[in-house]
């Protein structure tokens, strides 16, 4: 069991000021699986994954307790930049860098970190990352145009390519399709199921159906706590906790 887990939280709590929105969460992320965290708005799921790459602490007045172990190492003992390089993130709204070309957007991590790459390495990273993100065919002839000219769905896939370019161990997806139309959403979902071959994925979503479609494990979070976690088919056909049942049948959230 031990070596099947890439990331593990131990009694992780997070607060804004004195308002603890994540309460003592224990969650294990297995290698090469998609784990979905679903729950109503305000249940703390976004805050929770923002702790996993140390983004939560960037906001003023925030607090964190507990540990997050990345392959056994507590991320709070590592430099944040190292943690974030190994744990990539894609946000709710596509946010490509408006001043950069598509090509530079994919390489943005290296450019921003000041890591020098040869021309051949750059070309290779751009191509494989865009291919992994199902975007290569659509943009291969306009790599040097600005990323902001793409459609919303394409922009989001560009952001996924940008995160993948850093070859992260884990990809955090914070409601990645909630700003997209159904077709773009379907494409990203398909993409997620493919990506798990190379990266472990934590997906936060308030879209129950999406959690059902793409994840291997689903956790239900409510009022800052993980109410229940289990294999996705089981969670959706026979949840054990009555609150999960109520959430799935649309009684709240």
């Amino acid at each position: 069991m031990e070596k099947e887990i890439i990331l593990e939280t131990i009694d992780l709590s997070a607060a804004y000021g004195d308002n603890w929105v994540v309460k003592s969460v224990n969650l294990a992320v297995p290698y090469n699986k998609v784990i979905a965290i679903m729950g109503p708005s305000g249940c703390g799921k976004s805050t929770f994954i923002r702790c996993l790459n140390r983004m939560h602490e960037l906001l003023p007045g925030t607090k964190i307790k507990g540990q997050v172990l990345l392959e056994g190492e507590n991320i709070f003992d590592l430099p944040p930049t190292t943690v974030r390089r190994r744990i990539g993130m894609v946000f709710q709204r596509p946010n490509p860098f408006p001043t950069m070309s598509i090509y530079d957007n994919v390489l943005a991590g290296y450019i921003l970190r000041g890591e020098k790459l040869s021309r051949a390495e750059r070309d290779e990273i751009v191509e494989t990352s865009l291919k992994k993100a199902f975007l290569w065919d659509e943009v291969k002839d306009s790599l040097h145009k600005r990323g902001t000219f793409l459609s919303g769905g394409q922009q989001q896939r560009l952001c996924i390519a940008r995160a993948l370019a850093m070859r992260p161990d884990i990809l955090l997806l914070d409601e990645p399709t909630s700003a997209l139309d159904p077709k773009a959403q379907a494409m990203i979902e398909e993409l997620i199921t493919q990506l798990k071959e190379t990266v472990s994925i934590v997906l936060v979503t308030h879209n129950r159906a999406q959690a059902a479609r793409v994840s291997d494990y689903t956790a239900f979070m409510y009022l800052g706590e993980i109410v229940e976690i289990g294999p996705t088919p089981q969670m959706f056909t026979a949840p054990k906790d009555p609150r999960t049942e109520e959430y799935l049948t649309g009684k709240f959230g």
């Binding site: 390089r85 190994r86 990539g88 408006p98 001043t99 943005a108 921003l112 000041g114």
Partner: protein
Amino acid sequence: MSTRARRIKDRIFKATILSLSLLTLLPLLLILITIISKGYSAISLDFFTKLPTPPGDPGGGILNSIVGSLLLIAIAVVISVPTGVGLGLYLSETRGPWASLVEILINTLQGIPSIVVGILAYLWIVKPLGGFSALSGGVALAIIMLPTVARATQETLIRLPTSLKEAGLSLGASYTRTIWKVILPSAMPGILSGVLLGVARIAGETAPLLFTAFGNPYLNLNPLKPVDAVPLLVFNYAMSPYSDWHQKAWGASLVLMVFILGINITIRKGPWKRR
């Protein structure tokens, strides 16, 4: 109410608005017409390329003051842009008592009469250096321009989505590099408009230059020596008793006005503006 009555009401309303807006435009139009009609005849190639001649002698131009103005603006930009952008960045990134204090100071600075700024520059630079200089004039103009640049930077940065900064940080970039490589480039159009706005503001300033740049009938590129400036020339020539100098003052006013108008149009229709 019948459609007809409503349509008439609509017409009356539109006409009122139109005439009121024309009324506000009237002074501006009058100024434009006056300056163009009076200054037009002074404009020639020599006007831009020759130095002034003594009163009574025909010909000559205002090259000294155009170059002087450009030098003053350049000094002001070099000083105020880094400080202004830095202040704007500080204000948009930090909250707390210090930041509010700085904000209040910047707002106050914006309200200080420009002649007071001129006196300050006189006390701080002209006196210690023992003479009038382009540098002192440039510093005075930089102080006047600073709040505009700082304000524009702050407002542009605040309006940038936080997701942009998050995107940079989430890739493992340090805070400083994210600011340098993502935030400032994205804010560039806004900062540039702020700088241009500041330039437009100081291009016409006369008062602070009276005790600093002082004026100079000769061409000068040394920042430690006095220089002339277009508004200064307008002031001096207009105050003089010579009618051909009056003529040149009108011409210089026209040049100044066209320059400022040009900057304003550039800010509006800036080629860097996306979409």
